[in-house]
Symmetry: C2
Subunit: 270 residues, 2 copies
Amino acid sequence: MIGASYAEKLHSRGWFVGGISARQSTVTKALDSNIIDCGTIDVTKEFVSNFDIVVFALYPKLFINWVERYQDCLKSGALITDVTGVKGAVVYRIQDILRSDVEFIAAHPMAGRELSGIDNRNSKVFEGANYIVTPTEANTPGAIESAKELGRELGFGKISVLSPEEHDEMIAFLSQLTHCIAVSLMCSKDSTHLADYTGDSFRDLTRIATINENMWPELFAMNKTKLLEQMGLFEKEFCRLKEAIASDDLDTVREMMITSTARRQYFNKK
Amino acid sequence: MIGASYAEKLHSRGWFVGGISARQSTVTKALDSNIIDCGTIDVTKEFVSNFDIVVFALYPKLFINWVERYQDCLKSGALITDVTGVKGAVVYRIQDILRSDVEFIAAHPMAGRELSGIDNRNSKVFEGANYIVTPTEANTPGAIESAKELGRELGFGKISVLSPEEHDEMIAFLSQLTHCIAVSLMCSKDSTHLADYTGDSFRDLTRIATINENMWPELFAMNKTKLLEQMGLFEKEFCRLKEAIASDDLDTVREMMITSTARRQYFNKK
């Protein structure tokens, strides 16, 4: 979904775009839809060395495996980048194993959907969304600038630069923790008999309980320390609220509501 | 907000509507806006006995206090109803203290907003929303029918009948627990520096963290047993997920995601 959306947008802006997929049907569809100029299911030096920039839209472990196995196919001087949702566990590893004449600059397009596959491509999701570049000390200023330029070409609303660690803490709190909450809530009990009475509160809170069970467990595992830390922070407050209700300490309940109301206003859409 | 929305809708449909408020400014505004036919800040028999149906849009304890103090003002044969968000702790108490020639039939219009006061009245929020009548064994079939008719007059999308106990468990899970989660999440840490990176997941999940700290603690307290039960169910699943992540048991993480995805589909808007 993300890979094809990148291809479509860049091709429409005049870039020469090639695509590699595991499935021939995907390559054929991409060619037929005119979102790539050439494509293949075979990773060869002949194909891969045509490209100055290579974007990996793969699950983290597959991405690392690809680089280990096929990095000889990359053109000397090429820039490689990714779309992975966790950074610390990926970036240093790739930079560690990568040839010295190729540079990896990591980036995270924060514009996913609960959908996958080329048929669900939609480059409109980039509009107004965040594109975060996460360089390390190994990166050159030129590569950082190229990554930001790629984000702009794709039409992202905001381009930021964070360290891999800052990125992972932010993702652990804003994204991974919220998915953990939604999943846990749906697992709490078989609530399907209550569907008729559901208002927007429950519906909004559990929208992300529809989740890709092939991708997310790996992302959680690769950001385990930071995620467990954020889960602990939430659990502590949830228990504090529970104990306040249990002991009729309504002052604490009220104080927590005042805090949450005050903080939430910073998150209203601008 | 709810009281004025009821008044506006019923008045627009030709009902004779009177209003009692604690504030003269509210009464004046209601008269000037032509949403009531008459209004007062003084609770007198002369005023109250004009009405066949009396709707109490008050916090639960104030409602009980009113009935204790002023029930002599009600017309013999009057029907009284309410809009209270918890039922078990209110319905039996009111029916217990109420004169035998007046009937109380409880109802819950599930159409609140994070706003209060006459200026925020909006009877459009009733469209498509649920109106739940919660009779006890003390209620007559005629009163139940009248309450349902009132819901239809107000324009609610769905009229249901539940016991006070069924209602309170449903509210504890779908509404009170979700508010507890959103409040706890905002209290977990000062996350305002992350606002720039926020996507829809976090925004949707915390919308209800903006909460009326004068009303909700009382509602939680009045549904304490059921709410603590639901909070416990959620906490157990959240801890199960946390432990699975901590111990790299990705099969359990995956299995919970499959369950949550399957259950969530029942809650998609029809």
